[in-house]
Structures are given as structure tokens and as C-alpha cells.
Symmetry: D2
Subunit: 301 residues, 4 copies
């Protein structure tokens, strides 16, 4: 599906869409309002050579119309979960314009809690710092993939972390330690096995809550000899507690906390006072999958 | 206290210090570790004309030494609350170098919760999105002021907010409404009446928790005819529930949520689907004080 | 001008307005378009007790109307300079609504250059990284002040900077040096003496260009024994080359560049390889004024 | 190259390294100092199953040693161009530790200009807003790829842009236009054909300057019927003027500038006054390659 204008240059993969459509949906049924707060990014691809080569836009669904669709479909169908809403959007875009062969919907969801102690049942406060993410791909032929995730979940252990026995080259000066602070901002995504459509609605929220808990408790309760080991434990626990997850991808920055050298001031520092560094930082990335699960690299992009 | 080099230019107010010293303090006593996560900014002023006019640094305490002091004093005295630690630092700087006549300590504190469901008692997750703030000023003559606060506390009401009856000039086109979403990111600071030293330790945390709850519940439970009215209610509640607060300053961006016009698509939108705008935004700023409390403008800067 | 609801709480200073109105104005006269790119923030104050105390908005000019005015006045009068546009806006707001006693307009201006090498005379590229700033205050009684400025002008000297002879306390461990990298992100503002209205249009741009050059060349050509000394030299040069400037305020973060210790690897490092640190950083703040010029603290806020 | 701990979970692709090593290198030869300002991110992969599965770090080169190597190699070899420095680093890491099979070096370079009008030849000001980027991959078997690029190059045309004739679905309400502002922040990367080692040093800087100019002038001088068409023209020009480039990837956000409707105020607006929107924004992504050039997807990640 490559298109050509001259003999020397070839148009390869291309996509277009409206990014970061900020939508807040309020469910006003019953005594308590409910709230969904999303940033939705649409990216469509298909028969787009004309607009690239000649500026003929007859096959272009405007990004403005894409934005309108996000709002209109939320009005018509509500937003039960980010996963369902993203799937709904892919189906819409694949059916609304014949020149679209593939739809990619990325969602960020921001959590809100009800304000504690308030009489109002319609009052909310932004919740934890992490962002829930969804990435859905769907083809005109009916195939779809769902990757759920979270990012900016910042966790820290003050005990149970060591780092020693590493390879030494000429530039290795790091001291070995049997007691360090281990901290990271978890960026985790997990790919679901079955077609999203087959799952009952409520499952997406339950699945997310289970995954989040698995990541946090595995981080907390793994005695760590390296952040790599912790990463593996986090991915393994997530896979082990949800059969419907085929693959997990983790990106874990090592947010270094350096014990400050207070010896010049006649003071000990038994890992009580730390300098929290910004940059540089270690960065550990890894993928775990269920044995036998076929890979699907396109689902993640 | 102005210094002069030529007849034409005068050196006015000046200060210097180390900003954003990132310190994490771990209390390792007992079965559970505890954590304080701060960014401390020091600003000192006094007899600093020489370094400005001639580069003679004999009266300059290096910002590097200031940073060291933050770490060393945390090691020696712990960090019970950000307020106490800031007061401790001012006393230190005023006593360590005779050329310092005034110390200003600004602290941001980042909240951490224990990881729920973990066996580890030494594992933490970054808490709510808001940042706790402290600003302490102290003079060589023993006078000190304490301003506590918070920022980035994002709250939203889906009901109970109106806006109408406003002044109309030639550029006024806004529709009046009896039902809108009201959202803001609370930036609040409050000045304590009594000298910080006189308060028992635990009070600072209790005072903060009460103030935070007062701000949130006043936001939630005030039927709002304007964000200005809500601002006043928030400040009034904070003042009314803590005798030791003399003055409150609130900065409330109006995070506009516009109901999307879906009429072109044959759809109604009874305040269910909103576009959350980034810029521009309304910005409401106000000050409330206790009747009879003398103002203290320098405490806030 | 304080208002009261109960005997115990007093409403103090308050203001409200539309912040960060992003406006791009294109002058389409002649063979070459010209471009002004601004973020305008309006803050109005006056007789605002009613809306705070009772939610009666009869004296409130909506922030939406303020935004509309920014666009409409740009259409009617153009945007010659940010200073003039800000002054124009203050006059508008003071005359459009009788309940407004004071107008504050803050502007950020983003620079664009014509794209070099292009045939098009209507094509632009965002210019240098610094942002030009303007802050205008005006009262109903006709008094106005103009503060111009810039921020994020990042400069660095690889030679001509020393730091030694400083005060030593018990936490001082910094090595003295006669050769260091000196870098900062200049945040400078300068208050004009005469009423803005009295100056011919073109002067604002010329004044800005002169001030920017004065700051940069004073930074470059001052042999520095401390960043404080450099700050003074920058302010002094700015004052000395523009009679119409009464006062300069400078905020200079010391962007530390630490020579990396390569001795463990058998390497010297004669100030060739530096680690550019993020936090913490030194922060030097100072004010210089023309002898005899009366201060005007309200102009800066 | 997959490793297993249990029968059910498989470790897939993994990498680790030190990210965002901030290095400033000063060349002090001759009468004028020269400056290179980089953020270098290292990511290594290879035989890393042990640390993930058991915490045995014997095959792990610490990220601290990686950071040290960046500084030490800059000291020993200088930083002629970001491309050469990245290639040098890959060769170092592949040879220093037998468990490393692949090295990925990502560099951001920040431009500095000499301060105009200064006497000092050692004084610099941060240059244009764009960031130069380099991504190098290298295998133990000697294969390497080089992708150069830039990001945050913000450009805008006030004339020569139309958008009409697009596909209309039920949610399409956008008005067609023959005159709009077109603005984007160019994110462009280009893959070099030949092995980096074969190119003479100076070529990397010349190649970058040519590519930057090609992107800007193609943006400026293409009469645009869609941003897609402009994207294609930019990629085509870059390919046509440098035989050594095999493929170009462009990501162009459409920074919408909406002409403000001033009709309610009795004013026309012939594309003179625009609201510069933040979100949502169109996002156009495309790839162009030289006919016959084999793809190399791994080079871009």
C-alpha cells in the first residue's frame, strides 16, 4: 500500500487525526453524578495518497469531524470505560468513511474521587497522580487489539533493596550496597488476549484495579537485588493474576536517591537523609509475555 | 540599607540562596519507616553590598553551604513538619553568619501514602496531586512569620453552580446560566497569627489537615453564584475553623468546562458532555483576614 | 476599601480577569505580512464586594467579555508593541465598566523571525528562546506604570568567572576557584520612568532591543568574581544606557556546571567536561534603581 | 533470545541504561572557546536474563559506569558532532562488557550562539528553540544505523494555505477555506543510508544544516492544500537534496489558529486576529523513503 509521485520518492506509512481531545462526561442519573475525564487521540490511516501527493482532500475525514464524533458519541453512548469508548470510536471511524482502513484510539484517563466530608454528592477532587491509559487498534476487517496501562505511578521502598555483584569495567566506581532506597515512576502497559468486544463491560475497571494492585504490591513485597528483578516480578504478578493478559511492557526509571555524605560535618548518615536526583536516571525497560501467546508488535505503537 | 557605587545607581533589596534542595528524610525508628519528601529553597539577605559592588565575597555564605546545612540539620533534628524544619533553618542561618540579617525558607512537601495491600511497611506511593507549601521569614531580631498553604488541589462541582446577572458592556456575549460545571486548581495560603515557636509540634499537621478539609468542603457545599463567592466561602471557612490563622490568600483559576454544542448533529446536551479548555482561563484572586488582625505583607513574598 | 460580611472576617485586596489569552495578530499590509504573538492576561479590581459576599454579579465584567475585548481591540487598533497594546487595554477596561478602579495587563510576547532562504515573505520561524514581557498597571485616576522585561534568556561564559574568598561556616566545603563556567537564565524587568503615553511608538521596541543587548553584553564582558557582581553590572549597564528606566529587577538562577571528576579514570579535566545540574541551583535576586527615583512597589506585582 | 523462569512467563525484549546524561563540553583550544551541550541517553541490551530472573548482576554494567563513560570519552575524544559521539559510545559499550550485544545511544543537542556585540569570545546565548536529535543503534556484529533529526522547530505561514474539498460525514461541520494560517512544530527524523563511519566528520553538521533548511523552505514555499501535502513536500525536499538519506519520518501537529469571530461586535476579521489554540490539535504523521531503499524499522525505536 505504497504510493508514488516520482520515481525516486515513496510514501510509506502515514496517519492523521485529532490529538488530545479533552472531554469530561457527566452522568447525571440518580442521586450522585459520576464523572469521566479523558484526553482522546484519534489516528486514522488508509487511502491517503491523494492529499499527500496533490492536496486533493476528497478522501480526508477532517480532524475537526473526528473531534465532533468524540463528543457526539460520548453523548449518545456514554463513557462506561475508556476501553469500551475507544473500541466504540474505532468502529465509528471505520464505518463512517470508506477511505479509512485502520483506526487507532489512544486515551488518557484522569481519576477523580468524591470530596470526602462534603454533603454534596456532585463534588470531586482529582485523585492519585497516575494516569490510566488505553490504546486500541482496529482494522476494517474486524480485527482489534486492546492495550491498557498506567503511567506516573510513583512508588518508593525504604527497605528491601540491594545492588551489588555487578560487572566492573574501567569506568565502574559505584559502591556496592545492601541497603538503598528504590524508587520509580511506573509506566506499565498490558495487552489483552481476547477481542475486547467479548468481555463484559465491568471487567475493564476490575482488570485495571487488579493490575494496578499487582504492580504496586509486587514492587513493595519483592526483596530487590536489582530494579530489573523488581520489573520482572511486577510483570509476572500482573500476568499471573489475569489470564486475559498476554503481554506486559514496563518502563521503570530508577529515581536515584543518594544518601548524602555528611562525614565532613562529623555526622553519620545511616540511610536517613537522601538527595533526590532529577537527571540522569537509570532506565530499565522490559517485556514479559505469557508462554505461547503470539506477539503483536503493532498493538503497542 | 541601600548601598551605592556611583552617584547614579543604587542597590536596593537583594537576596541569594540555594533553591529547590530536594531532600527525602527517612525515619527508621520502629516497625514502620516514615518518609518526608521536600524541596527546600533558602533565600538570605543582609550586608551584601560588597559582593555586588566589588565581588568581595567575605560576607557571602555560599549557597553550597546552605544546601549542606539543609541536609545536616535534617540529619540532626529530623523533619517533624515542614513548618518546624523551615523555622529551624531560619534560626540556623541567622546564627551561623553575622552578615545575614534575614532568612526566608520556602518549602514544598510532596505527600506519600503507604502502599495499600502490601506486606511491606516500608513501601510508599505518591499521594494526592496537591503540594503542601510553607513560607517562613525570620529576622535577626527574633521576629518570624509562618505562612502555610497548598497548591494544585484540583476540585470540580457538577452541580450547584450558576453565573448570571453580570455587567454587560459592548463585548459581553456570554450566555447566562443557572447550571454549569465549576472547577479550579486551588492555590491557597494562610498566615498564622502566633509565633510559630509557640505552637506544639503536632499542631502544624493538624492545622494543615483542617485547612485542607475546610477548603474542599466549602468548595463542595457552597451553592455558587460566582467563583468569587466560592472563593470567599472557602477563605471564610478556613478562618472560622482555626483561630490561629490571621489571613488567607486564594488564587483560583476558573478551569472552564464548556458544554459542547451538539445541535448540529441533532443531539441535545443537558450538561453531560464538556470540553475542558486549557487557555485562556478566568483567574480569581482574593484575600480574607480576621477582623482586627494587623496585615503583614512581607510574610507572603 | 475593605468590605465586611460578618464581624469577624474582612475581604481584602481582590482581583479577577482572563488569563493567558493567546492572540496572534497578522498585519497584512504591503508585500510582507508581519506577526505579533502574545499571551495577554487581564486582572481587574474595584468594587467587587457584592459578588464575593452575596454572588450578586451586577458589578462584574465577565472574563469572557475581557477576552473578547482583547481580540476586538487588536482588530481595531493593531498591536504595534506589547507595551502600547497593554496600555490601550487598561484604558479600555477603565472606561467600559464603572465598577473597575484598576486594571493590570500582563503580556508575554513570543518572537518570530522570517524563515531564512524562503521565497515566501509570509513565512516565519519561532525565534530565540527568551520571552518578552510587559506589565502595565493603570488607575481610574489616570496614573499608569509600565514595566518591560524578558525571561528565559539563557547565557553562559566559559571564561572570566571566579568564586573565592567567601565566608566559611561549619557547613562550608566548597572549593574556591579562579576559573568556572558561569551560566544563568536571565529574568529581568525594568520600570520606565515616564508615563507610557508620552513616549513615541517606536521607542518601546528600541528600548527593548537596547536593554536586551545591555544585559547580554554586561553578562559577557564582566569579569565575574560572583554572580552577584555580574547581576549588579547587568543592572547598572541597563540603567546607564536608558535614561527612561528608573529601576531594574533581576532574578538570576546560577545554573551550576560542575567539572566532572575524571581522576578515578586517570584523566585530567581542565574545565573541559561539565555536568549541567538541574537542581538545586543558586538563586541571586537584586534590584537597582536610579539615584533619586522614587520607588513604586505596586508596579511590579 | 528469550529466557524463562516458569513454564508460563517469558522474558522478551529488555534494555537498560542511563538516561539524560547532561554534558557540556568546552573546547578551549585557540582564541575562541567552543561549546557542545548534550543530553545523552544510553540503552544497552544483551544477556540480561540473570538479573531479571534472580537478581544476579554479574552481567550488568551499571548505569553509573555508563554515565562515567560518557564523561570520560568526551574528555578523551571531544565531541565533534553528536552523531560521531554517539557512534563512539556504541563502540565503547559493545567492547567494554561481553554481555552487551546491542547499544542504543540517543542524543539531544541544544544550540548556542556567540553573544552578539560582546568583546568576550567565550560568551554564549542559547540559540533557536529547536533541538537537534541523534539516534544510533549498533550491534556486536558491527552493524550500525544513524538517524538524525530535529524537534520543536516551530514554523508558521500567514499566506498560501487552503483546506477544502474534504470528505463530509455526519459530524463534519468545518467550513472550507482558501486562506488560513498554517503552523506546526516540526518533528523530523531522517535515516542515513551509509554506515556512519564512512562519512567524513564535517559532513554531519553540513547534512544537518541542509536538512533543516530543506524542511523550513519547503514548508514556507509550498502552496498548501493540506498539511499532509506540506508534509510530503518537506520530506521530498529533504530526500532530494541529500543522497545519503534513505528515509524521512515527519510528525507535524497542526497548531490551529482560529480566526476570531468579531461579527458580534460589528467588526470584520479578514484573517488578521487569531486565537492560537492549545488542544486538541490535528496530528499528521508520514514516512517518505527513497525508492529502492530497504526499510529498517529497528533504526527508529
Amino acid at each position: 500500500m505504497l504510493y508514488q509521485r516520482s520515481s525516486s520518492v515513496v510514501l510509506g506509512p502515514a496517519r492523521y487525526g485529532k490529538a488530545e481531545v479533552r472531554i469530561v462526561h457527566v452522568s447525571r442519573n440518580g442521586a450522585e453524578h459520576a464523572l469521566k475525564d479523558l484526553a482522546v487521540s484519534v489516528a486514522l490511516s488508509g487511502d491517503q495518497a491523494d492529499t499527500h501527493l496533490t492536496g486533493d482532500n476528497a478522501k480526508v475525514l477532517t480532524t475537526d469531524a473526528q473531534k465532533n464524533a468524540v463528543y457526539a458519541l460520548a453523548r449518545q453512548h456514554g463513557v462506561a470505560t475508556a476501553e469500551e469508548f475507544a473500541l466504540l470510536l474505532t468502529r465509528h471511524f471505520l464505518s463512517t468513511c470508506p477511505y479509512i482502513g485502520h483506526a487507532r484510539i489512544a486515551v488518557e484517563e484522569y481519576a477523580w474521587d468524591r470530596i470526602p466530608g462534603a454533603e454534596s454528592r456532585h463534588s470531586f477532587v482529582r485523585g492519585g497522580r497516575e494516569v490510566r491509559t488505553v490504546l486500541v487498534h482496529a482494522d476494517a476487517d474486524g480485527r482489534s487489539t486492546v492495550v491498557s496501562g498506567l503511567k506516573d505511578l510513583v512508588v518508593l521502598n525504604t527497605a528491601g533493596s540491594e545492588f551489588h555483584g555487578f560487572y566492573k569495567d574501567e569506568y565502574t566506581t559505584l559502591a556496592e550496597t545492601t541497603d538503598r532506597v528504590l524508587a520509580t515512576a511506573v509506566d506499565a502497559r498490558w495487552r489483552h488476549t481476547d477481542s475486547a468486544e467479548s468481555a463484559p463491560e465491568a471487567d475493564w475497571d476490575k482488570s485495571y484495579a487488579r493490575a494496578r494492585a499487582a504492580l504496586m504490591t509486587a514492587f513493595a513485597d519483592t526483596h530487590s537485588l536489582s530494579l530489573q528483578q523488581t520489573l520482572y516480578a511486577m510483570g509476572e504478578r500482573l500476568l499471573s493474576q489475569d489470564d486475559r493478559v498476554a503481554e506486559v511492557r514496563l518502563v521503570l526509571p530508577n529515581r536515584h536517591h543518594f544518601a548524602v555524605d555528611l562525614a565532613p560535618f562529623g555526622l553519620t548518615n545511616e540511610n536517613e537523609v537522601f538527595y533526590a536526583a532529577d537527571r540522569p536516571y537509570g532506565l530499565i525497560e522490559g517485556t514479559l509475555s505469557r508462554a505461547g501467546a503470539p506477539p503483536d508488535p503493532g498493538a503497542w505503537e
